[in-house]
């Protein structure tokens, strides 16, 4: 029940926290234009949200303010959470940093607290109770907005990682029944799994007999990934394809031996060229340069 704020600044001493919150929500609504303006002015003065124009800052400030007061009034954060997520989605691509978002929310908290100080300064007892009601609610809101922003950012990063992963694992057919799988970059568990699935499917659709997996571009490999590679080689064999692994760096070779990975089943060749030549031999191709005067 929002109390009508009457002339008396000091409410009844027995007022509950809920009633106090109602009272201060009414106060914030009543002074909405000035407070909003003050907040937007301080955002711009602090050179926050520099990616946005002053008009945009004012517009966003207005709707954040309303959502903020609404969250204070109802005590539920869902609506604010959804709004924070939507806002993050809009501002993340424009390069807004986490620190800016946190600072902006804390600025609003500060602006509102100052206004409460001004209103209740005559009576320290009431001021204390009002702040007791206001501070925890304001903290929860600040946390919600900051966490919402960070979560949104992490989601964006995850999506980008996913996209990069898919781009970076092509399975290529170089000859009839010969596939090449060049692996570049870091292999983690998830990517290793994805590689295997892609490779096994490609063996089936391309009716491959020989696969060359080139790991020249892989800087390091742990025992999980190495064992996964061995599993991939064996699974490919069950599909009737021979796997040749090429381009093991000295570091990886040392790691694999030190880890004691079961390598006897792996067919390895020094570099990609050697691997393709070996594959051609297995498939019965014979590649010879065309003899003729044109050949230097």
């Amino acid at each position: 029940m929002p109390h009508a704020v009457t002339g008396s600044e000091t409410g009844a001493p027995s007022q509950s926290a809920g009633a106090l919150l109602g009272e201060l929500v009414a106060h914030l609504r009543q002074h909405q234009p000035q407070l909003r303006e003050e907040w937007a002015r301080r955002i711009i003065a602090g050179r926050l949200l520099s990616a946005m124009s002053a008009d945009e800052v004012h517009a966003e400030a207005a709707s954040i303010y309303d959502n903020y007061v609404e969250a204070l009034k109802t005590g539920t954060l869902e609506a604010l959470q959804a709004y924070a997520r939507g806002l993050s989605e809009r501002i993340i691509p424009r390069g807004v940093e986490t620190s800016e978002v946190v600072e902006i929310v804390l600025l609003l908290r500060d602006v509102l607290a100052r206004s409460l100080f001004a209103k209740y300064q005559a009576d320290a007892g009431v001021l204390n109770r009002v702040l007791d009601a206001y501070e925890p609610a304001a903290n929860r809101i600040a946390i919600t907005v900051a966490v919402g922003f960070v979560e949104e950012r992490e989601r964006t990063i995850r999506e980008q990682q996913e996209a990069i992963r898919e781009l970076s694992t092509p399975v290529l057919q170089v000859r009839e029944r010969l596939l090449i799988l060049p692996i570049i970059g870091l292999i983690d568990r998830q990517r290793a799994r994805q590689l295997t699935e892609q490779l096994l499917r490609a063996i089936r659709t391309n009716r491959a007999k020989v696969v060359v997996i080139d790991i020249t571009g892989v800087a390091a490999m742990d025992s999980n990934v190495a064992n996964h590679l061995v599993l991939t080689v064996e699974a490919s064999r069950l599909l009737g394809a021979v796997v040749i692994v090429t381009g093991l760096s000295p570091e990886i070779a040392q790691t694999l031996v030190q880890l004691g990975v079961e390598l006897t089943k792996m067919h390895t060749v020094g570099d990609l060229q050697g691997g393709i030549e070996e594959a051609e031999r297995l498939l019965g191709y014979q590649v010879t340069p065309r003899a003729g005067p044109a050949a230097g």
């Binding site: 295997t196 699935e197 096994l200 499917r201 063996i203 089936r204 009716r207 007999k209 020989v210 599993l231 991939t232 064996e234 699974a235 490919s236 064999r237 069950l238 599909l239 009737g240 394809a241 021979v242 089943k265 297995l282 498939l283 019965g284």
Partner: protein, 130 residues
């Protein structure tokens, strides 16, 4: 339902059409080992395309079939293992050691034809020469 075993020249083809119980698998093993001698077969193809699962008993039985038939003087190719099944099998350590595998029936027959012609061409698969 027993697995039908078809004769095609010097090759026997056993095409598994549905999931098999352990008893049916043993039955298939016995029938194949017997028929190799009866029909004077030189090659055998076991087609497992229809199987969604190959558990440890099935894998061991397949391996036994291959070794027994080798002792009877013929060569076996297991064909049609699905990608998902293959990966699940190796994760369980069921790698069908010493068993020649091929992508599908056509590949398997092709492999046997070359083997029987004494060519031995194509990629050599671990253990098949033993």
């Amino acid at each position: 339902m027993p697995v039908p075993i078809l004769k095609q020249g010097a090759t026997l083809i056993a095409s598994i059409q549905s999931a098999l119980t352990d008893a049916e698998l043993r039955q298939l093993r016995d029938a194949l080992v017997r028929r190799v001698g009866q029909d004077r077969a030189r090659g055998v193809v076991v087609d497992v395309t229809a199987l969604d699962v190959l558990d440890s008993f099935a894998s061991r039985t397949l391996r036994d079939i291959v070794h027994m038939i080798r002792l009877r003087g013929a060569e076996t190719v297991v064909v049609g293992i699905q990608p998902d099944v293959a990966f699940a099998m190796v994760q369980l350590g069921l790698t069908l050691e010493g068993v020649t595998t091929a992508l599908d029936l056509e590949e398997g027959l092709d492999h046997l034809a070359r083997r029987l012609a004494g060519d031995g061409g194509g990629p050599d698969q671990g253990g098949s020469g033993a």
